[in-house]
C-alpha cells in the first residue's frame, strides 16, 4: 500500500483542486475553486440510463410532492467516485443492531455526514459538506465555505446560521453540553465563531490550533456541528422561543433542557436521541422513518435532498433504505449472518472464533468476507499501574528492567496459537506496520520469549531475593504480588484466556500474580479511582488515530489505565491527580506543542518524538498485534472498500461512503 502524506496539504481554496486530485483520495471536490461556477457540472440531465434521481423520487416529483432534482441538489454537489463501479438505484441494506446500546452502528452507517471526511484509506481529511476549508493566520483561524443551495432533508436551506447555532446555542451552551476540548486552545480558551456570509463561517482561536481539520472528521467532535437544524430546533430553545414554557408544559417536560433533549441527541455515537425523532431534519443519505424502540426494526429511508452525486450526475444514495433488525443476542446475529440475512456487517459477530462458522456458510448464505485493518495495535496490553497507591509496588512497576523482564517472560507465539487462532504477531504497544509511525524496533523490542533473559532482567532490577516458595521479594521483604484486572464479559472475550496464560508465564519467573476478573463497570470504576494493580485492555491507536488519541503512548486520558492520576493532572480534571514523571511531562509538553502546531510536517515530527520517549521508557507490555480481521458482505452487494480501516476515530464504515453501496442485480 502506498502511504500518502497523510496530513495532506493545507486547505486553501487554491489547494482544493489539488486535493481533489491527490492520489489516495476518492472523493473529489468538484469545482470548488473560485466560487460559483458549479453550473457546468450541475447534474441536471445527467445520469446515463439510470437517470439523475431514484425512480421513487422521480415519481414524487411527477406527483408534485417534491421539487425537481436540480433544485434539490446544491449548486455544486459533491461528486463521489465509486469504489469499484457506478451503481444502480434501489434495494435495501439489511443489517442488524444489538439493542439500544449499539446506536453507534446507526451513526456509523447512516450518520457519518460531517463538514470534512476522512479519506477512504484513513490518511487525511478531505472535504465533504464543506466546499472549502481555509487555514488562516498560522492556524489561528479556519474559514469554512458551505455549498450554495444545500438543503436539510425537509428542504430548508442549510446555511452558516445552522453552524453558528450548533456551536453557540447547543455545543457551547453550558446547560446542554459545554465547550469540548477540541474547540478550545491548549491553554483552555474557547473558539469564537462568526458568520461571514450565508455560506461561510469562521472559527477563530487565540492560539494556533493544529488538529482542527482532523477533529472536523470525527463524529462526536465535528459531527455535532452539522447535526442541529436551527429552523427546527429553535422552537425548543429558550434563547429563541420566549414562549418555550408553554411547549414544555404541553409535552409534560420538566424544563426546556428536557424538551430540547427529547428532540435531539448530544453524542452521535452514544446517544439514541438522534434516532428517536423522525421529524428531525438531517443531512445524511438516509433519514429515520421507523425510529429506535418502536418495533423490531429501525428503518432509514432515502433523503431526497442529499447533496452528493455519482460521476454521472445521478443523485446518491443508490440504496433506497437501510433496515436494521434489532436483535437481543449476538448468537442470533450470527445465525442471521450465516443465513444470508445481512447485506454487510462488521461488528459483534466478526471475531476470530466465529470465522470458521461464517466461512462454512459462505455458499449457502451467498456472502463473502472482506478484509479490515484493525486500528488497534494490541489484542491485550498488560498495563502495570505505574502510579500505584502502594509506594513499594509503584517503585517496582516503575523499574524499567522489571517490565523488560516480564515482557521477555511472555511466550507470545503460544498465545497466538492458543488464543488467537494463529492470527497475529508478537507486538509491543507500538504503531502498526500500516502506519507512517511504524518503527520495527519499537514494535519488536523485548518480545523474544526467553525465560533466562527474563530472570536476568528481574535479578538486575534488584529483585533477586526469593522466598521459600520461589517468589521474588520486594525491597520491603514482602512478595511481589499483584492482580491483573480483567473485564468480563466485555467486547473482548479472549482477555481472560490471554491473561490466564500471562499469569502462568509470570509465575514461572517468580512473580506472584493472579487474574482478577470482574464486571466491566467495576473495572472502569477501579481504574478511575486508581485502586487497581494492573489492568488488561486492548491497545488503541495503531494507525493515524494514535496521534489523535495517544492514551497508550503517554497518559492523556483516564483510559490510560497505567497512569490515571497523571492523565488527570494533564487534563486538569478528575481525581486523584499527581505530578507525572519528568519523561512523561516531556511527552505532555510535546503533545501540547503538537496541538498548537499548524504545520503538518512539524506535527509529524513532534509525534515521532513522543513515540521515541515511549519506546525508550517502555511504559507498557504489549502482547499480540491484531490481524486477520474481516467483515461479511453479500455477493451482490458492491462498492465496499477493502481493506477497511477499523477505528474509533475512523467510524467504519461511514468514511467508506455507504451512499455509493449498491445491489448488483
Amino acid at each position: 500500500m502506498t502511504r500518502g502524506p497523510w496530513l495532506g496539504p493545507r486547505y486553501t481554496r487554491r489547494h482544493v483542486l489539488q486535493l481533489g486530485g491527490a492520489a489516495a483520495l476518492l472523493t473529489m471536490a468538484g469545482s470548488a475553486c473560485s466560487g460559483g461556477s458549479g453550473d457546468d457540472d450541475a447534474p441536471a440531465g445527467g445520469g446515463a440510463e439510470k437517470g439523475p434521481e431514484a425512480p421513487s423520487l422521480a415519481e414524487r416529483v411527477a406527483a408534485g410532492e417534491l421539487p425537481p432534482v436540480e433544485e434539490r441538489l446544491p449548486a455544486n454537489p459533491l461528486v463521489v467516485e465509486p469504489v469499484d463501479s457506478i451503481g444502480t438505484y434501489g434495494g435495501d441494506w439489511k443489517t442488524a443492531l444489538l439493542g439500544p446500546g449499539d446506536v453507534a452502528w446507526l451513526a456509523r452507517t447512516g450518520g457519518y455526514e460531517l463538514l470534512m471526511h476522512w479519506s477512504i484509506d484513513f490518511t487525511e481529511p478531505v472535504l465533504n459538506i464543506a466546499e472549502s476549508v481555509e487555514q488562516e493566520d498560522g492556524g489561528r483561524a479556519y474559514t469554512i465555505g458551505l455549498r450554495q443551495g444545500m438543503k436539510w432533508s425537509d428542504g430548508t436551506p442549510f446555511t452558516a446560521d445552522d453552524i453558528v447555532f450548533a456551536y453557540t446555542d447547543v455545543i457551547a451552551n453550558e446547560q446542554l453540553l459545554g465547550v469540548p476540548r477540541w474547540l478550545t486552545t491548549v491553554s483552555g480558551q474557547p473558539a469564537t465563531i462568526e458568520k461571514v456570509d450565508e455560506v461561510t463561517v469562521r472559527f477563530t482561536f487565540a492560539e494556533p490550533q493544529g488538529l482542527f481539520m482532523h477533529n472536523l472528521c470525527m463524529p462526536d467532535e465535528g459531527g455535532l456541528l452539522t447535526s442541529y437544524p436551527r429552523h427546527y430546533l429553535e422552537q425548543f430553545h429558550q434563547t429563541y422561543n420566549p414562549d418555550v414554557a408553554s411547549l414544555v408544559a404541553a409535552e409534560g417536560k420538566a424544563d426546556w433542557v428536557e424538551l430540547f433533549s427529547s428532540k435531539v441527541g448530544f453524542s452521535i455515537l452514544l446517544d439514541a436521541g438522534f434516532w428517536q425523532n423522525p421529524e428531525l431534519p438531517r443531512l445524511g443519505a438516509w433519514t429515520v422513518t421507523t425510529p429506535l424502540g418502536t418495533g423490531e426494526q429501525v428503518v432509514l429511508e432515502r433523503n431526497p435532498y442529499y447533496f452528493k452525486t455519482d460521476p454521472d450526475g445521478s443523485q446518491l444514495p443508490y440504496l433506497d433504505r437501510v433496515v436494521y433488525n434489532v436483535v437481543s443476542d449476538e448468537e442470533l446475529m450470527l445465525l442471521q449472518a450465516t443465513n444470508g440475512e445481512l447485506d454487510m456487517h462488521m461488528r459483534h459477530i466478526n471475531s476470530l472464533t466465529n470465522k470458521p462458522v461464517l466461512a462454512n456458510s459462505r455458499e449457502d448464505g451467498d456472502y463473502d468476507f472482506f478484509d479490515i485493518v484493525d486500528g488497534k495495535m494490541n489484542q491485550a496490553v498488560m498495563a502495570l499501574n505505574l502510579v500505584h497507591q502502594d509506594p513499594v509496588l509503584r517503585e517496582v512497576f516503575q523499574n524499567k528492567d522489571f517490565r523488560i523482564g516480564l515482557s521477555h517472560a511472555i511466550d507470545r507465539q503460544e498465545m497466538i496459537d492458543a488464543v488467537f487462532q494463529q492470527q497475529g504477531e508478537p507486538w509491543q504497544v507500538a504503531p502498526r506496520e500500516e502506519s507512517d509511525f511504524y518503527d520495527e524496533e519499537f514494535a519488536k523490542q523485548y518480545t523474544e520469549y526467553d525465560v533466562d533473559l527474563a530472570n536476568e532482567h528481574l535479578d538486575r532490577a534488584g529483585y533477586s531475593q526469593r522466598d521459600g516458595d520461589g517468589y521474588r521479594l520486594r525491597p520491603d521483604g514482602n512478595r511481589i504480588s499483584f492482580a491483573l484486572d480483567v473485564a468480563t464479559p466485555s467486547l473482548f472475550p479472549f482477555h481472560p484466556d490471554a491473561t490466564e496464560l500471562v499469569v502462568g508465564y509470570w509465575q514461572e519467573v517468580g512473580i506472584d500474580v493472579r487474574m482478577n476478573p470482574m464486571d466491566r463497570s467495576l473495572f472502569i470504576e477501579r481504574r478511575e479511582a486508581n485502586i487497581h494493580d494492573a489492568a488488561v485492555w486492548v491497545g488503541d491507536g495503531g494507525l493515524l488515530d494514535g496521534l489523535l488519541d495517544p492514551r497508550y503512548y503517554f497518559p492523556s486520558h483516564t483510559g490510560s489505565n497505567w497512569g490515571v492520576p497523571w492523565a488527570n493532572w494533564y487534563n486538569n480534571a478528575g481525581d486523584p491527580r499527581e505530578e507525572p514523571l519528568p519523561r512523561i511531562q516531556e511527552q505532555m509538553d510535546l503533545f501540547d506543542q503538537l496541538r498548537a502546531t499548524a504545520d503538518d510536517d512539524a506535527r509529524i515530527e513532534i509525534f515521532r518524538q513522543i513515540l521515541a520517549i515511549s519506546k525508550e521508557e517502555f511504559w507498557l507490555i504489549g502482547t499480540v498485534l491484531p490481524m486477520g480481521g474481516y467483515g461479511i458482505v453479500k455477493n451482490s452487494f458492491r462498492n465496499v472498500y477493502e481493506p477497511m480501516p477499523v477505528s474509533a476515530v475512523y467510524p467504519e464504515p461511514g468514511p467508506s461512503r455507504p451512499e455509493q453501496y449498491f445491489h448488483a442485480s
Binding site: P100, L177, F266, D329, E341
Partner: protein, 313 residues
Amino acid sequence: MAAFIARRFLYMVPTVFLISLVAFVIIQLPPGDYLTTLMAQYASQGESLDQAQLDAMNERYGLDQPFFVQYWKWISGIMFHLDFGQSFEWSQSVSGLLADRLPLTMALAGLTLLLTWFVAVPLGVFSAVKQYSIGDYVATTIGFLGLATPNFLLALVMLWVAFSTFGLSVGEANPVTFAIAILVLGTAGTAGLIRILRANLLDELRKPYVVAARAQGLPEGRLLVKYPLRVAMNPFFSTIGWLLPSLVGGEVIVATVMNLNTVGPLLLGALRSQDMYLAGSIILILGVLTVLGTLISDIALAWLDPRVRLRYR
C-alpha cells in the same frame, strides 16, 4: 369478606413502598451508574468521552444528585403523574417503551398459559387415575424431560431446526418463532403442573368421600370431575396470582434468545446497562402486580373453596 379485602389493600401500601425503595436501592447497589456503563461501552470501541460531555450528561440525567433526591424525583413522578421517567439508553419515556411491548408480552404469556393448562390438566388427571399404567409412565417421562431441559436450550435447538431445515428467518418476529416460544415455555410449565395435579388428585382419590360417592353409584367420570378434581385444582387457582406479573414481565431468557420484543429482554438490558429508571420502574410494576396477584388469588380461592371462605368468617 369486604373487611378482609379492605384490610389487605391497606397492607399493600407499606409493602409497595418498601418494594419501590428496595427496587431503587438494588439498582444503585452495583458499582457505577449508567454513565460508567456508557464509558465502558465507549472504551471497548476505543472511543473516549470529552469531560465536558460527561459532566453535561451527568447533570442532565441527574446522576450527580444524592440518592434520596433521585428517588423522590422518580417516585413523585409516578405517584402524581404516573410518569415513570425516561430511559437513558433508549432516550424514550419508560411508559412508551412498555406500552410498545405489552401486547406481545401479554399475548405470549396468555397463550403459554392456555397451552400449559390445555396439556397439563388432561395429562395430570390421566396419570393420576391410571396410576402406574403405561400411559402414566409416558406422561411422567415427558413431564420430567420437560422439567429437566433448560428452556433456552430447547429454544435454541428448535430455532436451529426451524432455520436449517425449513430455512426460516430467525431475526424478524414471525408466527413460527412465536409458536416455538409458546411451545418451549409451555413445555416447562406443563411438566410442573402435571406433577402437582397428579399428586393432589391421588391424595383425593383415596379419601372416604370418593369411596362413598362411588358406593352410591355415581358414574366414574362425573364423580371425578365433580369432587376430587375440584379440590385438586386448588393449587391452580392459588398460583393465578403469580401469572399477573409474568403477563407483564414476560420470560427473560427465552425471549432474549428468540429475539422476541417483550418486556423481559427490556428489563435484562436495562439492568445490564444500569438504566435505572427503566429497570426500577419495571421491577416496581412487577412488584405491585405480584402483590395484587396474591390478593386476587386469595380472593379467588376463597370464592371457589368454601373451606377457605369459611375460615375468613
